[in-house]
Point group: D2
Chain length 315, copies 4
């Protein structure tokens, strides 16, 4: 049986675009839209699919909070890939409709909020109606007797439902992007590529002043840069919190491996979420304290030196 992949549905969402980017060879039947982020996680866990795609950051249509909650508290899965999809909205209508005809526009509330400027300038007299997703808007427009004339949605949704683009780039910000992750069951990690990311969740002991700086120092002393840091209450009661951390590098590298061992020792618990190639455009970096001498060769040299001095050498 060919591989199958779950994603946050319905068909035509930005998440489907992300899955197409991550698994370009998969055909329509291989892509399984799910009703909610948790359903994607569950499908992967149950082995119903080979992997799944969910939004992690800055999603238009949500899912991020649930994604993080599942990563932190759900039965563990591995992140084995990621991609960043530009958030580009277009106005789609049924073939034959022209812009002047558009009186009723459907879209998701967040998309509507991001396209207000364009609508005010170009369709000042149109009514906006919000539905449960941009893809649902496209589908609704495509149906016979649709109560809407056009949908603001992703290109993928417009095409899927047989619509025609009346305008593209209708969002007020052109640089928005959503980061999506690819989930797998435990198994083999992706090979290091030289441009990787490692994700983890560090659970801090309850009443431990300075614990956050202590965790960050575990990365800093090995020169490992971070790319994301976010505190989250664990929901287990007062004073119990965790940190969602993305770091540069692959767990197979010495600097990352040693940093993770350090965090393992000082934290109540640490959940390894995966090491995987960094996707899409370059992302922001939070530089560590010492970026020097952190290659595997540097670690190997230091290890040889340690062996020498343990054997009684003086240099």
């Amino acid at each position: 049986m060919p591989n199958r992949y779950a994603y946050l549905g319905p068909e035509g969402t930005f998440t489907e675009a992300a899955l197409r980017d991550l698994r370009p060879d998969a055909d329509d039947r291989a892509r399984v839209p799910c009703d909610g982020v948790a359903a994607v996680f569950d499908a992967v866990r149950a082995g119903v699919v080979d992997g799944g795609v969910v939004p992690l950051e800055n999603s238009v249509e949500g899912g991020v909070t649930t994604t993080i909650a599942e990563l932190i508290k759900g039965e563990p899965l591995l992140i084995t890939g990621e991609t960043a999809v530009p958030v580009e909205f277009a106005l789609f209508a049924r073939p034959g409709t022209v812009l002047e005809d558009v009186k009723r526009v459907a879209t998701h509330p967040h998309a509507l909020a991001q396209c207000r400027g364009w609508l005010a300038r170009n369709l000042p007299d149109a009514d906006a109606h919000t539905v449960s997703s941009t893809a649902a808007a496209a589908r609704a427009v495509s149906e016979p007797g649709a109560p809407y004339d056009a949908a603001i949605c992703a290109v993928i949704a417009g095409e899927r439902y047989g619509l025609r683009a009346l305008a593209s780039g209708v969002g007020d910000r052109s640089d928005a992007a959503t980061r999506f992750i690819y989930l797998s069951r435990a198994g083999t990690l992706p090979e290091p590529t030289g441009a990787d990311r490692t994700s983890l969740v560090a659970f801090i002991a309850d009443d431990h002043p300075g614990a956050l700086i202590e965790v960050l120092n575990q990365f800093a002393v090995r020169g490992v840069n971070l790319t994301r840091l976010e505190s989250r209450p664990t929901g287990d009661g007062l004073g119990s919190y965790c940190f969602c951390i993305d770091a540069e590098g692959h767990v197979a590298e010495a600097r990352v491996g040693e940093a993770l061992m350090g965090i393992r020792r000082v934290c109540r618990d640490v959940r390894f979420l995966g090491s995987y190639p960094r996707g899409g455009r370059a992302t922001e970096i939070i530089p560590a304290m010492s970026p020097r001498s952190t290659t595997d060769a540097d670690f190997a040299e230091a290890e040889l030196w340690l062996a020498r001095i343990r054997a009684g050498a003086v240099d």
Copy 2:
């Protein structure tokens, strides 16, 4: 003219519940539902309303990403209050409907994801339909000829649209809560209450290793605990990021004031978002390094000592 307050609409959302909690004396005409988080910010900025309420963390129906983006990059406003609203879903229907009648349930996709367990156990044969908000679901159910039999929504929405509760507590997690903030134009800060929170955004200089630990140390050396920390790309290009920080205490306190001055000095920019009473249940704390000797009295004593030694004393 009486005070008016904007909030993330439509009527019946959890955000309206938050506004009622924060401004209990306001009547219906004083509450102005807005279409999107940005619209709430704009209404406050324009002076159309006296204040506004938006979700900041863990929102069921979104807004969080936009809220943070507006706080970071929009024309500045002050946070002058907050509250945490429990995310409690109920099943509402038109008067006369009983549970056995329910074949079609409407709700928001995120709410649906959180109520799946209850639906599977109690309404295994019902279809679920997603709409743009839980309040929109309630309204749709209330309309004559509604295509849905019941809505999963907040109590406030069910009551507003004249529905009756068929079941309460239908969410799969009972401890979820969303944190909402109250926005004001520049002006007077709330008085310190002894249980306050201070919010800010620290913008780090571009190529500065260790900058994050440096910022955290500004809090740690004054014994100021954090309650939230989140890195965010600023969107201004590679390596440019900022930190959204919530700290315990009020800017009027010496320890908080001195920490903010320190951050002001070492950062490219810092945006003060406000000091306000901590709302709702106690929240998680990220303890600073040294919790000792951080009262205003401790700071005053140290200042007296400094004056003495500057005058040539030896103790």
Copy 3:
């Protein structure tokens, strides 16, 4: 009565040279040699003299340990000046003696250790005899019927006892220097000069992990560089220790003043030892974490900003 100054005697020591450097206008009667470092401290404390000079670092003839012990535990005095004296040894003999005549050389054991190479090359057949100070060696050589032909001592000692230099620069290292401090009773601090040093002793609470880094962070977050750092047991029992710290800058500066207030708050005790012009050649610097934005103007700007935001401004 003219001012009088105590110093670590006897006459002719490097300490006398330091006093001459620090108080060039004082004549012979104004300089009071004392028998031991503690005697200098006591003379200043008792008001018998106006000030006193003792070695602090790298002394040839000792005193450093006692100096530090007196600074840490004795009745407090202020350091109001410092100077660095090059440790330059010369070979002095009675007038008429030539190098070939020298069979018996007297000096202090530490001076002997530092001049061994020169003696081996130039006086291979001479015997070396150690006495209690290099000045005592010069005096012994000067006496009628002296048992020694020459003394290794400071130029000041040779001249004082009417001897003639047979050779200069007889030490094996040419770059050695000893740092001396000038002690005063409590009173007025020296004015800031723009190139000052501040000395203090920080006493850490007993059982406090991370206390050292906590103290160093108090300097780092204000961008105050250190020039010396030394841990010392306090002698008060297990786990009780203190740090002798020299920092760049003057307590009258905002960054230094605020750092000292911070240390005052987090430590069990802190003893301020003084702010005074940095003497002699430039000394080594231990750079703080953030050297930026630490002028008094930067602190004043931050204070204005704090006043603005406390008054309800948003930028």
Copy 4:
């Protein structure tokens, strides 16, 4: 040929007492007094002796500065043992002399400074004369026609020169102690005992803000406590300095080994001085940030976990 040991002479010093403590089985011929600390180092380096003893901290008769300079800059040797000798002064005279007879007392200047109180109370009319060491004082008293009636010296010196004790405990402080180290050529390290110390010198790169905290963090993140920390200029020019560090534990332990590798990576150079049993009474501790989870078993567990996650496991 039996083993021979160099020490800072002359015979009868506290350093000889330290050597007797460290090598109790060595007889008189095995102990080789040297003229200066550097001479002890050289004798060990040249292989003339098997090991050597020098003072490291708080020495009465000096040597400490030279000891540290040799450890930092001289040809490397290993510290393989240490001991702490109480600084207890006694008054010794020739047999037959009684206290009332004592008119002229000889001793080293530092010893004199520490015994002043006793002399003032018990021998108010006696003259004090300073010589080059307390042992030289004892020897001088023992010689026929001695110009002194009694010597203040260590018990070991009085006994060696055939004198009798007139009084013991004549020092004004009873708790003073000097720490001595035993030097060996490169070869085998002492076995870990569970109560060990590791000494090293860390050379910082020139212009590197935060370097000190960076080095300390290398210990802190592995939970390694320090027992001594001292900054020293290297003499190589402006801004070039090093840190003399004593840490708890043995380089054979995982936490210490990993910390040393980290310092090796981030520093310009690091000189390992040895791991050896902690001698004498318990010494002061500078606690690291996190004392938890730092046993070899903790490190081994973390290493196993790393191997699991590198192989694709999720917990």
